[in-house]
């Protein structure tokens, strides 16, 4: 900690170009290079985008949004899609919370003040690897993969959400487990209580509010993800959206988008309220 200090400080040269202060310049130069190279290497069709043609088709697109198709038959279809999306997000999040917690246990060092009762932590690194792999593949890619085994439909979407979210929640859960105050768990460990029961009686009650809040946060995320998963055929509103947009039925697309935004807003509000109640 406190290294013994030299009697007199060594004489310091002024920082060189590669040093301290100019780290920032090098970083910015690198970033600038990255940006320039990116612009240069992508054959972006600005001409086409800013052409009269594109503007006209964009305008036609937008004008066809109105009026949205509010016929009862179609609205019912959209609402069923919305319910499916909602169900996917809820079930996916719940499954992920359970799986994430199960993986977070081996992925965390239980904090303890008494080294003598510490639990061996050999499983931590491999479990973290699994969690990282689950997390770094987006829901949509999982869904596309799962279509092969689970077939088209919301089931694949639910599983895809669950897999990706397991990775995210597992890591967050592991972090909160590691940050929990060690006192209550230590008291039980010193009494010779096995690790599993220590978790249920001491660690979980401490971190539960935080886990719930993470879960709700991910739910807000997942409702957005679930809404677009259907684009690859995994059910829900996204499937309707891709279908009607593919047929250029813009007024129907508008309805779907409207319902989608409304649903996301409602979920955000509900989640906000639930979080307030839980942390009371």
């Amino acid at each position: 900690m406190n290294a013994p200090k030299a009697a007199n400080q060594p004489y310091r040269l002024p920082p060189s170009l590669f040093d301290a202060r100019c780290q920032a310049c090098w970083l910015s130069a690198g970033l600038l290079l990255l940006v320039v190279a990116s612009f240069w290497s992508l054959d972006l069709q600005w001409a086409q985008f800013f052409s009269l043609d594109a503007a006209r088709s964009m305008g036609r697109f937008l004008s066809e949004f109105f009026p949205p198709d509010l016929s009862p038959v179609f609205l019912k279809k959209v609402l069923i899609g919305a319910w499916e999306t909602l169900a996917m997000s809820v079930l996916g999040t719940l499954l992920a919370a359970v799986a994430g917690l199960a993986l977070a246990l081996p992925a965390s060092h239980a904090p303890t003040r008494h080294a003598a009762v510490a639990r061996p932590g050999w499983a931590r690194t491999p479990t973290r690897l699994v969690l990282n792999a689950l997390r770094s593949i987006p829901e949509l890619v999982w869904a596309a993969l799962l279509l092969i085994s689970a077939g088209l439909g919301p089931f694949a979407g639910t599983l895809a959400l669950a897999l990706h979210t397991t990775g995210v929640l597992g890591r967050l859960f592991a972090e909160s487990l590691e940050n929990a105050p060690p006192g209550p768990a230590d008291a039980l460990r010193v009494q010779g209580v096995p690790a599993g029961r220590v978790f249920w009686y001491a660690t979980l009650p401490q971190v539960l509010p935080q886990l719930m809040s993470y879960m709700l946060y991910r739910w807000e995320n997942n409702i957005r993800a679930a809404a677009v998963l259907g684009v690859v055929g995994a059910g829900g509103l996204g499937q309707l959206l891709a279908f009607h947009m593919g047929l250029f039925q813009m007024n129907k697309t508008a309805t779907i988008l409207g319902v989608m935004l409304l649903m996301v807003a409602v979920v955000d509000a509900v989640s906000h309220v639930v979080r307030r109640v839980l942390t009371r």
Binding site: V190, Q191, G192, Y201, Q206
Partner: protein, 290 residues
């Protein structure tokens, strides 16, 4: 008749012996002096001992060694003629199940209910299934009630722990001990958050219960008067060593003055009170892509 027979079948206490024992805290710097230096102590089964001494004397470290939470660096520690650190892991766990250590800060998860926290004392004797079921529906409400009753807390049975005051939490921590299937109670500063009247009541209850159950009780105390009036035997500690080890009646004013030399304010009972609210863990910052 006492509560002991109602709560558990009485099992005789553990005897313990320390020979020339030294221990250092794992977190301590390598240059620092060991927290315990050459401590020798023998406590017979069913004896009640108070440990007094100024802060930094090594009282807490001693309790941790006794609780098999901290292995000694030198010397030997025997519990009922067993060397805990030479036992296989499983046997050591079983042995730990017969100990009960109440730390100074009551180890209660904030949002747990008092009844669950108290019943947690029984975990060493409960199977996994029974313990999980008890989380959903408390397994033995009457036992928890009686244990709390002993500390005047019966009406808080279904209260949440974080809605209690610091003193109440500390007494819940002690009530947990009454339910533990323990043969040795190790109580660290049980009175740090209690007012004088409550202190006397609580310590009287503990000693009474220990005597009734023939348990061994080792308690560290800041309040010298409480130690002298309730415990038959008092051990004075200073600088990681035993300063005196006497029957309470033989501890003189002089002993105490020497023990608390330069710590007179602690002798007068001015001690730092443990902070009331449990400190909330810092929330890790979570960034999300959406």
């Amino acid at each position: 008749m006492t509560v002991a027979t109602a709560l558990t079948t009485s099992n005789p206490g553990l005897s313990l012996q320390l020979v020339d024992l030294s221990a250092r805290h794992p977190a301590a710097r390598s240059g620092a002096a060991a927290a315990l230096r050459g401590v020798s102590l023998r406590v017979n089964a069913g004896e009640q001992v108070a440990i007094i001494g100024p802060s930094g004397a090594g009282k807490t470290t001693l309790l941790q060694v006794l609780a098999c939470a901290l292995p000694p660096t030198e010397g030997s520690y025997t519990l009922d003629d067993q060397h805990p650190w030479q036992l296989p892991r499983r046997a050591l766990q079983t042995l730990r199940g017969q100990l009960f250590l109440a730390p100074q800060v009551p180890p209660l998860p904030p949002r747990q209910r008092v009844v669950t926290s108290v019943l947690a004392g029984r975990l060493p004797a409960m199977g996994l299934w029974a313990s999980l079921r008890s989380l959903f529906y408390p397994g033995d409400i009457p036992a928890a009630f009686q244990a709390l009753e002993r500390f005047d807390l019966a009406e808080k049975l279904f209260e949440r722990v974080d809605r209690l005051s610091g003193g109440e939490r500390q007494r819940v921590g002690l009530a947990r001990g009454l339910l533990a299937p323990a043969r040795l109670w190790l109580i660290d500063e049980p009175l740090s958050a209690l007012d004088p009247t409550r202190s006397r009541q609580a310590i009287a209850t503990l000693v009474e219960e220990a005597q009734a159950r023939q348990l061994t009780l080792v308690a560290t105390l800041h309040q010298v008067d409480v130690a002298l009036s309730h415990f038959p035997r008092v051990v004075g500690m200073r600088d990681g060593q035993v300063a005196f080890d006497l029957p309470a009646a033989q501890v003189s004013r002089e002993h105490l003055t020497r023990l608390y030399d330069q710590y007179e304010h602690e002798l007068r009972g001015e001690v730092l009170v443990v902070s009331d609210a449990p400190s909330a863990a810092p929330q890790p910052v979570a960034m999300h892509c959406r």
